[in-house]
Every structure is written in structure tokens, then in C-alpha cells.
Amino acid sequence: MWNEIFSLTFLTSLLAATIRLATPILYAALGQIFTQKAGILNLGVEGTMIVSAMAAFTVSYFSGSLWLGFISAIVVGVLWSSIMAWLSNTMNAVQVIAGIGLNILGAGVASYVYRIIFGVRTLPPQIDPFPVVELPLLSKIPVIGPVLFCNNVPTYIAFLLIPVSWFLMERTTFGLRVKMVGEHPRASDAKGIHVTLIRNIAVLIGGACAGAAGAYMSTAYMNLFTDNLVQGQGFMAVAVVIFSKFRPGWALVGSLVFGFSNALQMRLQAIGAGIPNQLLLMLPYIVTIFALISTSRKAEMPSAYTKPYVRMER
């Protein structure tokens, strides 16, 4: 067993799987960094993802264009999360229930629309998913090549989004506004920052990214849509954001840790590690807890986290 673990192919396969499993979480987490940093806890990522996954698949299926599907999913993600924005920023609703409610609603809507459009078929409709694009030269490097440079385009985009979100957060006025608004909405308001607007934008960015994550699931990772395509990845993304302390680079680390432990767990089962599979299945979640512990000591949540802002209140 051990010589299998230390083989190069095993390692390459493990790391490649890590990337695949980390990508949707990374997408969603990058968006949630903005949402959460602005003070909104959106537990409804899961719902946004499933609705967008359905949209991406449907549009790709009928248009024949994966990119049209991908973009539709982002649009749907934005539209869907605008419900969250309305609930949390206009109606000042309790964000935790809003998220849970939208998850239930999203699961229902995605499944319903899919059934209405595609009916009951003997075989599920399928598409050709985003193909793997091997980057010239780079993909030939041993281990690193196949792991990092043999992926589909949405994966590359996810990785490009890391510096982009970092830049947006740290180097633009928008990023500073987001931080201000999450930290001290009243002060932001007093400084002439439009709190509701910024918070809405932050929620919609989260929605767009969750939309991309959903699209990744149905058109890049898989080639079809099922009701259970997004199994807990939305929640993992929320966890990763808190783990990362709102830093895009660390969100990558968090996603990779989860992806890695999940990929490892499957491989340990496959080669017969002798541990009951149910215990191995716990691994990613236990690892996440440990990862959280390691960074939590001085974790600073935005002061206005989950708190609605009402100008008239003190």
C-alpha cells in the first residue's frame, strides 16, 4: 500500500484531483470574500450554485455554446443573489434564515425548471464539457505540468481570479469601501459611502462567483445536471472564507486543503487502507476544522458581520 502512495502517478493524480475538487469552492469563496467582508453572511451560496448549474447546463445544451452557458450562469447567479441582497440590505432580514430559505428554494427551483424543460427521459441529456487545454511547454513539466497546466479554461479563470480579487480588495477604492462598510456601516454612511449600494454589489459579486462555480459543476466538472450536483460545496466555500480571513490567497489554500483531503480520502479507500470508508469520508471535514483552528487565534470578523444597517438606529 505504501509504495503505491509514494508513486509519482499517485501523487500526480492526487494533486490533479485536488485542483478539480478545489475549483468550485475557490470560485464561490472568492466571491463570498467580498460578500462577507461587507458584513453579509450569505449561507445561500449552495442554492445559488445549484440554480446556476442548471442554467449553465440548459443554455449550453440548447445553444451548443459552453461559454454562453457559463455567462448565463453568472447572470443567473447575480439575479438569484439579488434576492439575498434585497432580503439582507433592504428588508434587513435575518441573514442566516434568508440563506437557508434560499437554499431550499434554489434546490426546488433548479429541479423544477430542469424537469419542466427536459421532462423524464430514459437517458439524461448530456453535453460535451469544457475540454482540457494543455498549456504548451508548461504542461510537460513532471507532476506540476499535469496538475497545474492540464485543466479546462474555467479552472484557469478561477486561478486568475485570485490576483484579481486581491487587487480589487486591496488596491481599489471599491475594496476599501467594502471593508469600511463591513466594519462600520454608520461611519461609512457618515463619510458619504452608499452603504446599501456597496453591500448590494458585494452580494452580487458573491452571486456572480457562485454562478461561475455552479457552471463549473455542470459544464466543466460534469457534463450533465443532477439535483445533487452541488453537495455541500457552497457551505464549504463559506467555511473557506472564514478560514482565509478574507484573503484571496488563503482562500486558495483553504479550497486546496479541502480538495486534497477529499481526493486523498477516496484514494485511500480505493487502495484498501483498511479503514472503514465512513471514517475516511469524515476526513475533509475534520481537516477543515483543524485548518480553521490553525488560523483562528486572532481571527477578526468584520464588526458589522450579519448586522443590518439602519441609518436611523444608533
Binding site: 435575518v94 434560499l102 431550499i104 423544477y112 424537469r115 467555511a239 469520508l281 469524515m282 483552528i293 483562528s296
Partner: protein, 352 residues
């Protein structure tokens, strides 16, 4: 004062009713689009929820666990500890209480005392992990409780496929059945609802008393911040851990109820998504025991009616989710609507 409170609760009820109707109307669009008659479907749903004694019994079957769990969740929430791990705590409680029934030979009367206690201990310890991680490492309890839910799910799977599996059960994921003498007894012939209703009533009364007790006050105080808790001469960290444990204990108790009153054995799927619903109920009920009582009734009726509608009509199963989601999402706008209406009224009074 009394009068004002009464009047405001009447207006809350009204607004809630209007919102529920609005949600149902929206849901009707989905039903109609699927080619079914909304009126007929809602008729089935209403009848399915409240149509007969056995329907009420079904509501109770859901309401008992949901209410107890929500009461547990409310304890943590009022201390501003966002324990969303009720489901995991319930599962672990189910496991620990099942251990008693399966492996510890006791006289039935003693068993009826020990098993729920074991359930509560199980739930409490599971919740304590999150509390301890919070105190010791400042680990966000939203995440830890969420992750511990998954771990508990797989722990349950491990138990029912492994050490606690029914001998000679052909590898099906369940334990042996609990002896009849230690099961919770149904309240009537043909009804599923059982003596756990009295447990629920007892818990409700205890929690009402709890909020008037010293420890309840401490928990409430913790909800206003750790700084003021320490300032008041209490140990905030210790309070966090006890609060989490108490919260988890109630979920663990529900584990016992499900094992001994509903399924009569330990099996996969015992959690049934109760954790999320308990959170929704807690917050809809504004964390007060009476609010939770009503909210849990409402949500349970919605679940039972929805399930009936799904199987008795030809609508796609997903419509039930849609309606539940709509109701929850729209209901949380009620406080804001109420606020707006009140503000308008106050302004009106002044302008005169």
C-alpha cells in the same frame, strides 16, 4: 403595557398570515405552470396537514423534535453562539441513547431514565467540542458546528454499517430494534404520536423557566458580549461551554425521541434535515419559547401538508421545496414591514 403587547402580537399574526398567503400565491404560479390546479393542490395540502386526527398526529411527530431542537438552538443563539450543528448533536444523541437500549440490560423503567440522559450527554459533548474550539482557539462556531454535522453523519453511517449493525441484518444500515418495553408508547390506536409529546411540553415549560432562572440570565448576558459578561464577574469562557452543552443536550434528547419513538432503532437518515429547520424555527420564533412553539407548529404543518400534497397530486416533487422556501424567505420580511407600518402610524399621530 399588556394591551400594547397584545395589540402588536395581533398585528404580527395578521401580517404573517398575509405573507404566507402571498407566498402560496407565488407557489401557485409554479403549480399552474406544471399543469395542475393550485386550488386543488392547496386543498390537498390543507387537508393533508390538518384534515384528521392522524394528520395532527403526524404534525406532532415533526413538531416534537423540531420544537425541542429549536429550543436548544435558541439557548445558544441568545448567547450569540451560532450553533447550527443541532443536527449533528441530535445524531450523536441518537447514537449514545441507542447504545443504552442495545447493549445495557436495565429494567425498563430505569431504562426510560437512563437512555434520554445518555442522549443528552451525547448531544452535549458533541456541542461542547465546538464550544471548546471557540474558547480555546477562537474557532468560528458556525463553521465548526457545520463541519461537525458532516462528521456526525458519517459517524452514524459508520455505526450502522459497523459496530452497531443489526446482527443477521444482511448488511442493511440499521441497528437491531429496541425492545418494545422501552419504546415510547403511542397516544392512541393507529396514531404515531407518542408520549414524547409530554417530554416536549415538559421541555417547553423548563425552557420558559430557564429564561427566568439565574443561568438563563447569564446566558442572556453572554449574548450582550463577553466583555460585559466578564465585567459582571462571570467567566465568559466557561459560560460559552455550558451554553453550548445545554443547547446540544436538547438536540441529543431529540435523538433519543427519534430512536425510541419514531424509528425504534438507529438507522441512516435519522437527522432528516431537522438542523436547518430548527434554526429557521428559532429565528422565526424570535428565540422566545412561545414564539418557537408557534413557529414549530407552523413549519411542521407546512412539512406534513407539503408531503401529502406531493404524493396525492401529480405536481413535481420540487414544488414542495419551492413553497417552503418561499414561505421562509418572505416570512423574514415581516419585522421590516411591521416597522414601516408602525413608523408611518407614529408620524401620523404626531402630525395631528
Amino acid at each position: 403595557m399588556m394591551k400594547r403587547r397584545l395589540r402588536s402580537s395581533i398585528s404580527t399574526t395578521w401580517q404573517t398570515a398575509v405573507i404566507v398567503v402571498a407566498a402560496l400565491l407565488l407557489g401557485a404560479l409554479f403549480i399552474a405552470f406544471a399543469g395542475e390546479s393550485p386550488l386543488e393542490c392547496y386543498g390537498v395540502m390543507l387537508e393533508g396537514a390538518l384534515g384528521s386526527m392522524s394528520r395532527i398526529s403526524e404534525i406532532m411527530i415533526k413538531m416534537v423534535p423540531l420544537m425541542i431542537m429549536a429550543l436548544g438552538v435558541s439557548i445558544a443563539f441568545r448567547a450569540k453562539l451560532w450553533n447550527i450543528g443541532a443536527e449533528g448533536q441530535m445524531i450523536v444523541g441518537a447514537i449514545t441513547s441507542a447504545v443504552v437500549g442495545l447493549y445495557i440490560p436495565l429494567p425498563p423503567w430505569l431504562h426510560m431514565i437512563i437512555a434520554p440522559i445518555f442522549g443528552m450527554i451525547g448531544g452535549a459533548l458533541w456541542a461542547m467540542i465546538a464550544g471548546w474550539l471557540r474558547v480555546r482557539f477562537n474557532a468560528n462556531e458556525v463553521i465548526t458546528t457545520m463541519m461537525l454535522n458532516y462528521v456526525a453523519l458519517y459517524l452514524l453511517a459508520y455505526m450502522v454499517y459497523g459496530p452497531m449493525q443489526e446482527p443477521g441484518g444482511y448488511n442493511y444500515p440499521q441497528s437491531s430494534s429496541m425492545a418494545e418495553s422501552i419504546q415510547l408508547t403511542p397516544l392512541g390506536a393507529g396514531l404515531r404520536v407518542n408520549t414524547s409529546v409530554f417530554v416536549a411540553i415538559g421541555v417547553l415549560i423548563l425552557i420558559i423557566l430557564f429564561w427566568r432562572s439565574r443561568f438563563g440570565f447569564t446566558v442572556d448576558l453572554l449574548g450582550h458580549g463577553t466583555k460585559i459578561t466578564n465585567y459582571a464577574g462571570l467567566n465568559a469562557n466557561r459560560t460559552i461551554i455550558w451554553t453550548m452543552m445545554l443547547s446540544g443536550a436538547l438536540s441529543g434528547l431529540v435523538g433519543w425521541i427519534e430512536v425510541y419513538g419514531v424509528h425504534f432503532r438507529l438507522l441512516e437518515g435519522i437527522g432528516a434535515g431537522f438542523g436547518d429547520l430548527a434554526v429557521v424555527i428559532t429565528l422565526l420564533g424570535k428565540m422566545s419559547p412561545i414564539g418557537i412553539l408557534f413557529a414549530s407548529f407552523f413549519i411542521s404543518a407546512l412539512l406534513v401538508g407539503g408531503a401529502t400534497m406531493q404524493r396525492m397530486t401529480a405536481i413535481p416533487y420540487s414544488i414542495v421545496d419551492i413553497i417552503q422556501g418561499l414561505v421562509i424567505v418572505l416570512l423574514i420580511t415581516q419585522p421590516m414591514i411591521q416597522q414601516k407600518l408602525q413608523a408611518r402610524k407614529a408620524r401620523g399621530i404626531y402630525v395631528e
